[in-house]
Symmetry: C2
Subunit: 487 residues, 2 copies
C-alpha cells in the first residue's frame, strides 16, 4: 500500500510528528485497518521525500504507543486496538485502593478511608494514588505465567543476574528508547522491586555524603526514603516551569531529584528551557547528578510526550527511574534505574553484590508481556480510558471555573484545583467530605509546612473512579463549593 501523507514543511510541527499524527489518525478512524501492512520506512521516506530517520521516528512512536506492531522479517502492521475511539463504559468496580497501601502508589497521609464518609454516606474518593485495573489483560498475564512455568524452565528457580534478566532489560531499553527518548545500554539498567528499594540501592551507589534538592512540594514517599538514607534533603521552590534553577544553585545541593514529565503533585510539565538549565547546572561541576523520576510519563493528554531529560544529557549525569506500578499494576513490584555510565564502576564496586529483588518468573512474564506487544496495547487502552475520565472530570468541573483554577491537567492521573477566592484548603476538604466526596489538600506534600506559599489548593485523582462516579463526585463538589465565601 502507498500512504499519501500531506506534509507541511513550513509548519512548526516537526515532519516526523506530522507523519506520526497522520498515520495515527488513519488508524483511529479505521482508514488503516487492523492487520494492514505499512510500507517500510525506506519506501515511505522515498515517497515522502524525507529522510529515513524521520519516518523511523514516526514509526517508533507508533510502535511505542501500540498503534503498530512489528513481525520479525515480515514488516510493520496496524495493531488490533480495542476501545481506542471515544470514551468507554467502565465497570462498577473502579479498582480503588484499600488502606495499608499508602506506600505503593503516590503517597497520601490519610489512608484510613474505607469507602464511606464519616456520616456513613457512600464516599467518592478522588484518591491520587489509585489506578484502574478493570482493563488489565488478566487472561494474557495468566497465560504468560503458565507458558513460563513449563517444566523446561527449571533454571528460573535459580538465582539470576543481580541487575535483572537480560531479556527484560533489553525490552525496557527498547521501550524507553522509542517511547521516552532514553539512550542507554542494557548494562545500565537495574531492575528492582519498586522505586523505594531502588532509591535505597541508589544511595549505596552514590554513597552517604550528598545534599539532595527536591521540588517543593514533592513526592513525600521519596523524601522519606532519601531522608531515611541519611541524606540532607532540601526543598527547592518551583515556578510554573518546575524546580527553580536559580534556587537550586543557591541550595548547595549536588543532586537534584525532579519529575520533569509530570511533577507530583503540581502536575507541571517541565519545558525544554528549564530542562536545559537543570542539565547545565549538573554539567557545571563534577559529581553532580539529576535523579529523573519519570513515574507516570505514560499518560499525556495534550501535545506529544516530552522526551525524558536523560535523552538530552550529554555528560552522563542523569539517573533515570521508571516503574510499572502505574502503567501495569502496583502489586507487580517492578521498577528500574537507568544509571549513567559514569556510575557503573561505583555500582560494580558497591552494589553489584545485592541480589535482584524481583523473582525471575515475574521478570520473564513482564518481558513476554512487552515482547508480545501486550504492554503497548495495554498502555494504549489505558490512555484512552484515562483520557475519557480526565475529560469527564474537566467537563463536570467546568461550572466551577470562575471560582477555581485548574492545573496539572495535561498529563498524569490527577488535577489540582486552586480556590480563586482564597477559601482555605481544610475548609474545601471538609465541605467536600460533608457531601460524601474525598479530596486531598496540597499542604500534605510539603516537606516543611512553613514553605507552603501556594494559595489554597486541593488534589483530585480520577484513575480509580468510574466515569459515573467522577460525574457524581463533581456534581457534589459543585453543591459543596459553589458560592462559598471566605469566612
Amino acid at each position: 500500500m502507498e500512504l499519501l501523507i500531506p506534509l507541511d514543511s513550513e509548519s512548526k510541527m516537526p515532519l516526523y510528528e506530522q507523519i506520526y499524527r497522520h498515520i495515527r489518525k488513519e488508524i483511529r478512524e479505521g482508514a488503516l485497518g487492523a492487520g494492514e501492512k505499512l510500507p517500510s520506512s525506506r519506501i515511505l521516506a522515498e515517497n515522502l521525500k524525507v529522510s529515513r530517520s524521520t519516518v523511523q521516528m514516526a514509526y517508533d512512536q507508533l510502535l511505542a504507543e501500540g498503534y503498530m506492531e512489528t513481525i520479525p522479517c515480515r514488516g510493520c502492521f496496524v495493531s488490533r486496538i480495542e476501545g481506542l475511539v471515544g470514551v468507554e463504559a467502565v465497570g462498577q468496580q473502579g479498582g480503588k485502593l484499600t488502606d495499608g497501601e499508602e506506600s505503593a502508589g503516590r503517597d497520601f497521609p490519610n489512608p484510613s478511608d474505607r469507602g464511606f464518609s464519616e456520616k456513613g454516606n457512600p464516599l467518592i474518593d478522588f484518591s491520587p494514588r489509585g489506578i484502574d485495573l478493570e482493563k488489565f489483560p488478566f487472561s494474557v498475564w495468566r497465560k504468560l505465567n503458565r507458558d513460563i512455568l513449563v517444566d523446561g524452565n527449571r533454571e528460573l528457580f535459580q538465582a539470576g543476574d543481580p541487575r535483572g534478566e537480560l531479556s527484560l532489560r533489553r525490552e525496557i531499553r527498547t521501550y524507553l528508547h522509542s517511547a521516552r527518548g532514553v539512550n542507554c545500554q542494557e548494562d545500565q539498567i537495574i531492575v528492582g522491586a519498586g522505586s523505594e528499594y531502588l532509591l535505597m540501592l541508589l544511595s549505596r551507589i552514590l554513597g552517604p555524603k550528598h545534599r539532595i534538592a527536591m521540588e517543593n512540594p514533592t513526592y513525600k514517599q521519596a523524601y522519606r526514603v532519601l531522608s531515611g538514607e541519611g541524606y540532607d534533603v532540601v526543598p527547592v521552590d518551583m515556578d510554573h516551569s518546575g524546580m527553580r534553577a536559580d534556587l537550586l544553585k543557591k541550595s548547595g545541593a549536588d543532586i537534584a531529584y525532579v519529575m520533569p514529565s509530570h511533577q507530583y503533585p503540581m502536575g507541571v510539565v517541565m519545558p525544554i528551557t528549564r530542562r536545559q538549565e537543570l542539565l547545565a547546572w549538573a554539567w557545571r561541576e563534577e559529581e553532580r547528578f539529576i535523579i529523573e523520576d519519570d513515574y507516570d510519563s505514560e499518560f499525556r493528554y495534550k501535545g506529544i510526550p516530552v522526551p525524558a531529560l536523560q535523552g538530552m544529557d550529554q555528560k552522563e549525569r542523569v539517573i533515570y527511574m521508571g516503574t510499572f506500578s502505574k502503567s501495569i499494576a502496583p502489586a507487580i513490584r517492578v521498577g528500574f534505574l537507568v544509571l549513567p555510565r559514569t556510575l557503573l564502576p561505583l555500582y560494580r564496586e558497591r552494589a553489584a553484590f545485592y541480589a535482584s529483588t524481583v523473582s525471575r518468573i515475574d521478570q520473564n512474564v513482564l518481558c513476554q508481556f512487552m515482547v508480545g506487544g501486550h504492554y503497548e496495547r495495554h498502555l494504549n487502552r489505558m490512555r484512552a480510558l484515562y483520557r475519557g475520565k480526565h475529560d469527564a472530570l474537566l467537563t463536570a468541573l467546568k461550572p466551577l471555573e470562575r471560582e477555581f483554577e485548574i492545573q496539572g491537567e495535561n498529563a498524569g492521573l490527577h488535577v489540582l484545583m486552586t480556590s480563586r477566592k482564597g477559601i482555605a484548603e481544610e475548609r474545601l476538604v471538609e465541605l467536600a467530605n460533608e457531601m460524601g466526596v474525598k479530596v486531598y489538600g496540597l499542604s500534605a506534600y510539603f516537606i516543611r509546612q512553613e514553605q507552603n506559599h501556594y494559595p489554597p489548593t486541593v488534589i483530585l485523582g480520577y484513575a480509580s473512579l468510574t466515569i459515573e462516579q467522577i460525574q457524581n463526585g463533581a456534581s457534589q463538589l459543585l453543591r459543596a463549593w459553589k458560592d462559598v465565601e471566605k469566612c
Copy 2:
C-alpha cells in the same frame, strides 16, 4: 487405631522425642500407611500415661516435618511421602548455579567457574552456594500459580500490606512455631525480597549508630550489606560452640549477628549453654539485640533440630531472619524478619512506609504451597535427598580421615575439611583443581585476613551435585590429596 509406643522413662531422650521417633519410624517403614488416621493427642496421652503437651510436641514435630497432616475437624493423618526411604537416584542436572548468582546463595568470592577446570576437564564443583532443584514440585507450583491468577483475584494487582500478605505471615508463623520453636504474632513478621533487602530494612529500623559483632569467619554477603549500611562491623572469634561470649563482651558491640543453627561457614551448631550466654549478654543492657540468621536450619542429619534462639528469648531482644532461598529456591526471592515486640514502634515510625518488595501473586502462591502441606513434604523430600548426598560424601571421604578432620557435618549443605598435616589451603585448592574438582578455601570468609588463625581448611558443598558426581569428585580428591606432604 491404637499406637503401642514403648517409652523408656529412664532414657536421656525426652519422652516427646521417643514418641516422635517411634511414629516416624513406623511411617518410614510403612507400618503406618499414607492416609491412616492417628489417634488424637488426648487419647494417645491417656494411653501412654504422659501429658497431652508431650504428645502434642511430638505431633508438632511430625507435622512440621511433613510426616503427618491435619485435616480441619477430622484429625491427623499420615502423609503421602514419596522417596523418603533410602537414597534416591538423582537426575543428571544437579541444578548447579551459574555465575552472576554469587549474591543470592551463600556467597563465594570466586564466581567465575563455568563447569570446566582450567585444563578443560569437566569440573565437579563442590560449591557451597548451590541447591538441588531436581525435586522441586514444579507442577504443584504451576498449578498454584494458575489457581491464584483467576479473574476473581483482580485485587492481587493492587498494592498490599507493606509487611506482606496476612495469610502468608500466618503460615510462616505457624511453621516457625512448630518447626523452629519461634514465638511470635503475625504483626511481628515482615516479608521481603531476600535477606539483603531485609537487612537494609532492618538497618532503617535500628538506626545508624551501632557496632555489630559478626562471627569470624562469617557470611560475607551479610557483612557487605551491613558495612554498606555504614555500621561499624567487628569480627568476633569463635570456638567449637560458636561466637565467644567473652570476646563479644569486650568487643563493645551492641548488636550480635549470629547463625546458631548451623554457622556459615564453620558448620557449628551452637549448644544451649552458649545460647544462654549470648542471651544473657543481650539482656544485660537496654538496646542490645541479637540478629539470628537461621538460613539453613531445615537440614539436619544428627540429633533433632535445635529450636531457634528466638524461642528462648524472654526479653524481646532477638531479631529472627529466615529465607525460602535454600529450602525452596533462590529465585523466588522471599525471606522474612521476625521483629521483637520492642522494635515494633520503631518499625512503624521508620520503616512501615516502605512498600512490600514481593509481588502479591508470589506471596499467595507460597502461602498456598504452605497451606496445602507442599512445603513440608518438599522439605521432607529434600531432607532425604540431602541426607543421601551428605552420607555419600562422608563415606567417600572416609579414606582421607587420617589426613583430614571433617567438621560441620551435622547439618546444612556443606562440610569442612581441615588438613591435619598443615598442607596450605591454596595448595589443596590447586591440587583438587588439577584433578578437575573445585573446592573452596576457608580464608575467603574472614572479614580481615590477619584474623584467620585456623589451620588450613577447605569447604565442600554438595547440594547441587548428584550422588555420582559426589563419589567421582571425592575419589579425585583422594588421588589429589592422598599422601601429599607439606612442602
